[in-house]
Each structure stands twice: as structure tokens, then as C-alpha cells.
Symmetry: C2
Subunit: 121 residues, 2 copies
Amino acid sequence: MMHLLVVAHGSRREDSNLEIHQLIEQLRLTTTRFAAIDCAFLEIAEPNIAQGLRQQIAQGARQIVVMPYFLSAGRHVSIDIPEQVQNIRDAHPQIDIHIAGHLGVAEKIRRIVIEQALLAI
Amino acid sequence: MMHLLVVAHGSRREDSNLEIHQLIEQLRLTTTRFAAIDCAFLEIAEPNIAQGLRQQIAQGARQIVVMPYFLSAGRHVSIDIPEQVQNIRDAHPQIDIHIAGHLGVAEKIRRIVIEQALLAI
């Protein structure tokens, strides 16, 4: 069974990092499709990506999906996250690590933008 | 009828700003609930928020929803965007400008995270 690691940017504002931890708790209540769901941060906050992946591997993960929690396909999504994931792949060649499309590519985001805007009226 | 202004952060990467313009084009195809849908940028890119709002007002908008296209309720969402919107409200007291909850508060984001992750398997 897959493990899911949601990777957010990480912030100096502890409240922003807390939002990610709360998201993870909600995701755990939303689905039983993953053996475990955890978060990691690209910068500033911990666990970082390597720590998050190593922890899941230590807990028995053999297949992991890394989900970039980013709206935009900038350098972080296209270069930084793949590089850090590749380092762990190289160190643990027996582990199967996939990187999902970042959040912003999901077509349903459009519908949420509209719904959120209509809620404000 | 409402006008919708989607406010993104703005990036030095022109591709990232282009993604927002493409999102706007998709939103226009997705809904007829707004008289117009445009984008503006908090920093770096143009139009900025004041320019975006003034342009909609010049086009006849009397009610505007500002939708912060941000995942996290950081300083940008809680302070910077409201401040810049308030400046325009003060200059145009006859215009009704609402600020929607930022994208990240939408509960459906959770489901999209799961769906995107499952697509990667």
C-alpha cells in the first residue's frame, strides 16, 4: 500500500506550517487509500523532504507518492523537489517513489475558485 | 452583476504569471456567473491590485469579488491584500468590493490532493 507525503513550501510563520499539519489530519479522515499520510517542507520548516521520506521508509513504506502542495509550476516544483526526491531514491533504490502533479494542475481548482468567490457575495 | 478579480502572488518567472492568465481564460469558459473575470498580482507582475480594480470599475463594475489565489493564510492574505483593497474602497466608496476566502480554506482542496496523488500511481 502507498504512503503519501504532501510537500509544502514551509514558512517562517508557524501558523502557516500548522495549517499544513491540519490539512494532513483532515486528509487522514478523508481517505483510507494510503497506508500513511504525512507532510514535509521544502524549506524553513521540518521535517524536510529527506526526513519525511526516510521516516516513511523506516515505518515500512515500499511505495511512496510525493504530492507537491503548490499552485504554480515554478522552480520549486520543477527542480528543487525532484532533486531532493532523487537523492533519496539514489540512497534507497529498492523504494518506489512517484512525484504527483502539483496541486495547481488539477482542473478542479477552477471550480473551487468560482465556488469560493460566490461564497463571498 | 459581479466582477471577479483573482489575485495571485506574482512571480519573476513569466511562465508562472502566464499560468494565472491561462487560469482566467479557463474560468471564463467555466462560468457565466460573473460579468467579467480578470486577474491581478500582489507583487512583481502587472496589473497590480489597484490597477486591476480600477480597470474593472472603469468597465462599469459596481460589485467586485476579490479572490486571493493563495493556499496559505499568511501575511499576504491577512494584511497585504486587504490593505490594498481598502485603498481602492476609500477612493471609490460607491463600489462594493468583497474579499473571498483564500483558495486554501476550501474544504474541497483535500479531495483534490488525494485525487492528484492517486493519479501518480
